[in-house]
């Protein structure tokens, strides 16, 4: 028997997908469309307290309500899924917004993705979230990447995040 790395369900050897949560149980070759397998996923790596150090060339999201800074790093893919975790959820987002009352603010479990393209352009894509994503007050259509600029205001449901790009200082506001 082997155990599903996502939900812990036991499966027979040779099984390729978890019958409980549907997660793949084998190493997938990288998919061309930029979709990811759970194996490559990293758990949310952003405890809010440890966020005072900014390194150069990173994207920082400032939670408007609390002033907490979320630093997007630790992934070589140049992609971060923003969302929240719920019990029994198979696919966890890269950035778990649960500490910021994501549920009450209407953040979907896989809400939006921030990506950095090869030429360094940052974009945000709504992942078909229930309550939508707004960029500077305008609702963006799902699944279409929108360019991000310094100081942009992103609303995931009702959760407001301020975008800081290319921060160089050790402790910017």
């Amino acid at each position: 028997m082997k155990q599903c790395p996502v939900c812990g369900h036991m499966e027979y050897e040779g099984a390729l997908f978890c019958s409980e949560c549907g997660a793949p149980l084998f190493q997938q070759p990288p998919e061309p469309i930029g979709r990811r397998s759970p194996k490559e996923q990293t758990r949310p790596e952003v405890p809010a307290e440890e966020m005072s150090h900014l390194t150069s060339g990173k994207i920082v999201l400032v939670v408007e309500e609390t002033g907490d800074k979320i630093i997007l790093n630790g992934t070589s893919r140049g992609e971060w899924i923003l969302g929240r975790t719920a019990p029994g959820q198979a696919i966890v987002p890269d950035i778990d917004l649960t500490p910021y009352e994501a549920y009450d603010n209407g953040v979907s479990r896989l809400h939006a993705a921030i990506r950095i393209s090869e030429d360094g352009q940052a974009t945000i894509t709504d992942l078909g979230s229930s309550n939508g994503t707004r960029l500077n007050g305008l609702k963006i259509p799902p699944n279409i990447p929108q360019p991000l600029s310094e100081g942009d205001m992103v609303l995931l449901g009702k959760l407001a995040l301020r975008v800081q790009l290319n921060s160089h200082s050790e402790d910017s506001a």
């Binding site: 050897e13 390729l16 549907g22 979709r35 198979a90």
Partner: protein
Amino acid sequence: MSVQDYYTLLGISPEATQEEIKRAYFALARRYHPDVNPSQNANEIFLRIQEAYAVLSDPQKRLLYDQRLAEQAQHTALLKIKTTLSQSHLARLEEPQILYALLEISPTHDKQNDKRPPLNVCLVLDRSTSMKGERLNALKRAAALLVEELRGDDVFSVVAFDDRAEVIVPAGRGLDKNLILQKINQIHPQGGTEIYRGLLEAYRQVGRFYNPNSLNSIILLTDGHTYGDEQKCERLARQAARQNIVIHGVGLGAKWNDAFMDKIAGITGGASMYIRSSQDISRLLEEQFHKVGKLFAPKAELLFSLGRGVKLQYAFRLTPEPMPLRMESPTMLGGVPREGTPLRVIFEFLIPPIPKNAENFIVLTGAINAHIPAASKKVQIPWSIGLQIGKEAGPVPPEIADALTKITMYRMQEQAKREIAAGNIDKATRRLENLATRLLQVGEPRLAAVVQEEAHRLKRSNSLSPEGEKEIKFGTRALILPAEFERDE
């Protein structure tokens, strides 16, 4: 298959059990033994019987023989088969393991078979009161479009039913299209839904011009449940299946019985299709009609026996029409299209602990039967699966990974429905939530939203909405189709 092969020699089928092989061998050996039958000819036959038995009675030799036979058959048969396994070897394990097999059946290229055989199609239309208004009107328009496409040698008929059946257009060739349209236009909604009545009359109409070398099909359209006559429908479907008459089900709206229609269609090698709203009727009915015309072999059937301790846990047709299949022999695989995507079926086997010292393991032995109208020929191709034991399993072939990604989601909704039926609402809710997450993951936000909404509804009210249930079932099915097929959005 060659007349010389061992199975033909012993007068048994390629899926014969060891017991049957032994019995056939002893019966023949008694007749041709040199002590009993002194002729020179008998002696030769006796030697060949010995040879055949030596091979077929040894499962490993038989497997190799079957594989060789299958290769030979490829050259002569009109169909070719391809098998892909999830692993190239079985692991030497003292616990059970799972093996997936993807079977593909397609025509061997042969230009002379490119012409479509004549159709013999009966359209069975539900005219019960629930069809009143836009539904029936849309259906009439759709039927009118089909009539335009008939060829001179096609046979066409129309039956309407409520709790009675009425032949609107009796089966015939070269019918006056205007007259057909006039008659279709006169269908009035009335009464309840008794599918058996309609099906039986359709079966009679197709039977009047029945020809094994035509594409004999019944297309059944309904928007409701039938009550009390399900068993009779099943018996009729089995009878139709024996004569290569394929039943296709088309369900309108949320209230028809999809499980029943899947069953009836499945028995004959057909499938059922879901039409959400009246404006899709025309397009989807035409699609269904074209599918019938595109068949090279209307139905391929698999006869099989499983290796010792092997369990077939799931069988699912991926293309041309995705649908779960029966897991006992014989199982109807479905139609083989003349061109484009082949008939593809995936199997999930549970393999028992591997015996010590075993070098090979036989999973399945069997044969695929099909009738090819264009060539007026029956085809039988042996199909067996056997693997060596103990080496590296190798990477998972992408076509298996891709198929299972999608089937896993279909099975999750099946499982959730079983859990609801068993009163296990919490578990079903969690499973639907997991399914929604998976759907998002593979880039299906629209369907994910439907699933999420139904999960909420389930939590609140302990049941799914009939619309949601169908959306999820047929939505996850539609994901399985390759991109060149149009999905009904």
